[in-house]
Structure formats: structure tokens, C-alpha cells
Amino acid sequence: MNHLLELEGVSKRFGGVQAVDSVDFWADPGEIVGVIGPNGAGKTTLFNIVTGFYAPDAGKIHFDGHNLVGLKPNQITRVGVSRTFQAVRLFGAMTVLENAMVGQHTRTKAGVYGALLNTPRTVREEQKVHASAIDSLAFFGDRLTPRINSLASELAYADRRRLEIARAMATEPQLLLLDEPAAGMNPSEKEGLIELIGRLRDVKGYAIVLIEHDMPVIKGVSDRVVALDYGKKIADGTYDEVAANQQVIEAYLGKAGSEEQE
């Protein structure tokens, strides 16, 4: 129980597919863990299990002393786990600022009465929400801040990815799960992303788990890399260890490829 997030023997089956097969997984405070694996390896399913979107068929999940199994996604967010989505899912009809403000939901309390009566507490809270949203956005330098009043759906693709991270940051998590944050970015944007993820850990102190196909990004940020294939964990270690792992190479390049390499 000394890890921040700890999964023990977690499994999930969909019809005929064993999407996640008895996976052990952990992340420590301030650690950046990269999760890699070919398409369909079960990476996103793992995220969905941790964040409560799927209930695991078997296994234990602990986070910061809480048992996460059986909690709803919103409760898991409240205890300090936040995530982004593989296909960016912003609130497209809201402004950039509003998206970030929604992130603050669990950290605030104002209800109907507060809104109606506009009590000093609500006013203060709204100011705090506003400030904290601005703060999250400011983390991305001048990428989002000048656009706080534009619609999320009007942003450039990479900025949408950034906004999704900012929105997740606004929930004030201890653990951030990023699902393919580099997808669709160009090389220089990826550079920026590597730098950003490092900064997130250093400045905010988050533990970060990221799924990524882009190996330079994985290499650039991960303290530790976990490889999945067919729902099983096939490797766990530093980037170099995992990259040298024969099973991983086969999973990635195909058997023929690895044979030719030999």
C-alpha cells in the first residue's frame, strides 16, 4: 500500500475478448509512467477501469488509501484521479475558460441557493474557480490564455489536446491519466508536450500515467514504461529495458520483423 495507485490482478472481459488480463500496475507520487502496446492491447480499457467507467471483473484497485472498485467516475475524480480522452472530448459548445471552470466542479460547493442568492461565499467561490481556471490555462503559456473566450471547438487540434489537459488539471488531481496526448501533433508540438509533462510533474507534483504510441515522447518523459499486449502486461521497467524486451519488439513490429532484425 505504499504506491499512490496500485492495481492488483485486474481483469476485464468483453464478450469473447479478454481486454485486460490480470494486470498488476502501480504508480508512485511524482512518477511518470508510460503505457505502451499495439492497438487493441487494452491500454484504454485499463484507464477506463481505473477511472470507474468500467467495473473490473476481478482485481483490486487502491488509490491513496481508497478502494476505487465500485466507485463512480465522479467520485474517483473527487479523490484525485483525473484523465483525458483518446479522441479529444471537450465541451465544444463551451468557451475555453468554461471548459476549465467545469474542471473545478468537485473542488467547489455552490448549489442552487448560492447561485440564486449570490451569497458572498458563492461570489468568492466563483472568483476562485475563475482564477484557478485561468491558472490552469496559463500553464500552457500563450497557447490558451489569449483564447479563453473562444469556443473549444474552434481551437486548433493541438490546443484542444492542451485544453483537455488543462481541464483535467483544474480538478486538482494527484494522479493524471493522459490517453495518447501526442496523437495528431507535429514534431515541434511533441517537443513542447514532453517539456510540458515534465513541468506538470515538477511544478504540480502530479503522478502521471500516459498511454502513447509515439516512442520519442515515451522516451522523453517516462520514468518507467509498462508494455501491454493482448491485455497482459509483458514488460515493466525503464524505457531502455522495455525497448530491448524481445516480447515488446515482437508485439510492435510483428514476428517477421523481429526475425529479420536478428
Binding site: G16, G40, D214, P216, Y252
Partner: protein, 240 residues
């Protein structure tokens, strides 16, 4: 390249505000196997979808068999002899194996020949024959991929497009699938395959293109590409 049966000339396409393809040109010659490689979200699937009219090209020409097809609807394009094995198979899960094969031949009326084609598919994939009455949704991953290929074959395409046929399959099955693709090609069907498993794809292909964030960055013969230093940079990252 006058003998190209399928060519894309300066094609661009977008999803909403995001530019997915930027001025790409590809030629596929008759009886060739051509592969398109690239990392996730590089625009590989978009290329296939654009060829088939499922995504509209915002610019450029697509020429199939001497005819421009970029303005046609999907059924019209299919009727001209072009079809695709989609990513993730996308079978009609509630239909039987036989029905899936029959629906592939939806545009044809020659009942006898359809039957012959179905038998030919069974020759290619004997496993499917055993499961002929089973619902496609209950097949295993490998069987589903076989069925998806079989479904495309019953349309008797001149050019067959395959979208990541290896995805989610065990390595042994991946090899089988690629062997089958070679066999189909040897029977006279032109193949254009999109794949992330670069080595596997290049091992059977004549030529290949490499796509990176919507643009073609490399194109060469398969053997040259296998040796090309930039391939691992662009596609495999720094894994090696």
C-alpha cells in the same frame, strides 16, 4: 505511370477543422501490392476513406480505372470495382457468416457465380466453412478478419483496399493473413494495404509509401524502404 489503376493526385482532406491529409499523391499499378505505412493518426485510414468516398476530398483528384471518382458516392465507387476491408473488421455481427459473404456481393446478380466465389473464399479460409451458420459477432478475432477479407472478395474487386489487417491479431494469425493477401494478389487482384506492422507489410509488398501527419514523407520499393534509415525514424520512432 499510365498503367496505374488507382491514383491519388494532390489529395487533401479534413475532419472538421483538422487537416488530416495534405496534398498526397499515390499510384497503385495493376497487380501490385502497395502498402501505406505510418504511425497512429498519420492519416492512413483517412486515405482509404477518401478513396472510397466515405470522407470527401477537399482538393485533388482520385482516378480509378481511367475515371475520376472523387465526386461519386460510396456505392457508385464500389460498383466500379473498388472495395475495402475496413479497420476493425466491422462485420455485420448479427448476420451469419454466409450472409456476410453474400452481402459482399450485394451489387451482383449472378447467383451461381456468387456461390462459386463463396466457395472460393471457403477454399481460402476453410475455418469459415465450418462456421457458416454462426453469427459473425461470435467469431474469434482471426476468423473475423478472414470473414472481412472474404466479404470484400465476393464483391470481385479489381483493387482491394485493406485497413490494418493485422490489428489485434496474434502473430501467428498475422502471418496467415498476409500469406492470404499474397495469394489473393497472385490470383489477379491489386492490393493496397494500410498497415502499422511495417516489416510484415513490406515483406509482401512491391512498393510502399510512408505517411507522417498527413503527408507522404517516403515512397520507394519495398526492399529499399526496409533498408531506409528514415523509416525507423518516421515510423518506428527510436525503438530500435
Amino acid at each position: 505511370m499510365s498503367e496505374a489503376i488507382l491514383s491519388l493526385r494532390h489529395v487533401s482532406a479534413s475532419y472538421g477543422p483538422v487537416r488530416a491529409l495534405e496534398d498526397i499523391s499515390i499510384d497503385v499499378n495493376e497487380n501490385e501490392i502497395v502498402c501505406l505505412l505510418g504511425s497512429n493518426a498519420a492519416g492512413k485510414s483517412t486515405t482509404l476513406r477518401t478513396i472510397l468516398g466515405m470522407t470527401r476530398a477537399s482538393a485533388g483528384e482520385i482516378i480509378f480505372d481511367g475515371e475520376r471518382i472523387e465526386h461519386l458516392t460510396t456505392p457508385e465507387i464500389v460498383s466500379r470495382g473498388l472495395t475495402m476491408v475496413p479497420e476493425n473488421r466491422r462485420l455485420f455481427g448479427k448476420m451469419s457468416v454466409r450472409e456476410n459473404l453474400e452481402i459482399g456481393a450485394n451489387l451482383r446478380d449472378d447467383k451461381k457465380e456468387i456461390q462459386e466465389d463463396i466457395e472460393r473464399v471457403f477454399l481460402l479460409f476453410p475455418r469459415l466453412k465450418e462456421r457458416i451458420r454462426q453469427r459473425a459477432g461470435t467469431l474469434s478475432g482471426g476468423e473475423q478478419q478472414m470473414l472481412a477479407i472474404g466479404r470484400a472478395l465476393t464483391a470481385r474487386p479489381k483493387v482491394l483496399l485493406l485497413d490494418e489487417p493485422s490489428m489485434g491479431l496474434a502473430p501467428i494469425l498475422v502471418e496467415q493473413v498476409f500469406e492470404t493477401i499474397e495469394e489473393i494478389n497472385s490470383q489477379g487482384t491489386t492490393i493496397f494495404v494500410v498497415e502499422q506492422n511495417a516489416h510484415m507489410a513490406l515483406s509482401i509488398a512491391d512498393r510502399g509509401y510512408v505517411l507522417q501527419t498527413g503527408s507522404i514523407v517516403l515512397s520507394d520499393t519495398a526492399s529499399n524502404l526496409l533498408e531506409h534509415p528514415q523509416l525507423s525514424d518516421a515510423y518506428l520512432g527510436e525503438m530500435e
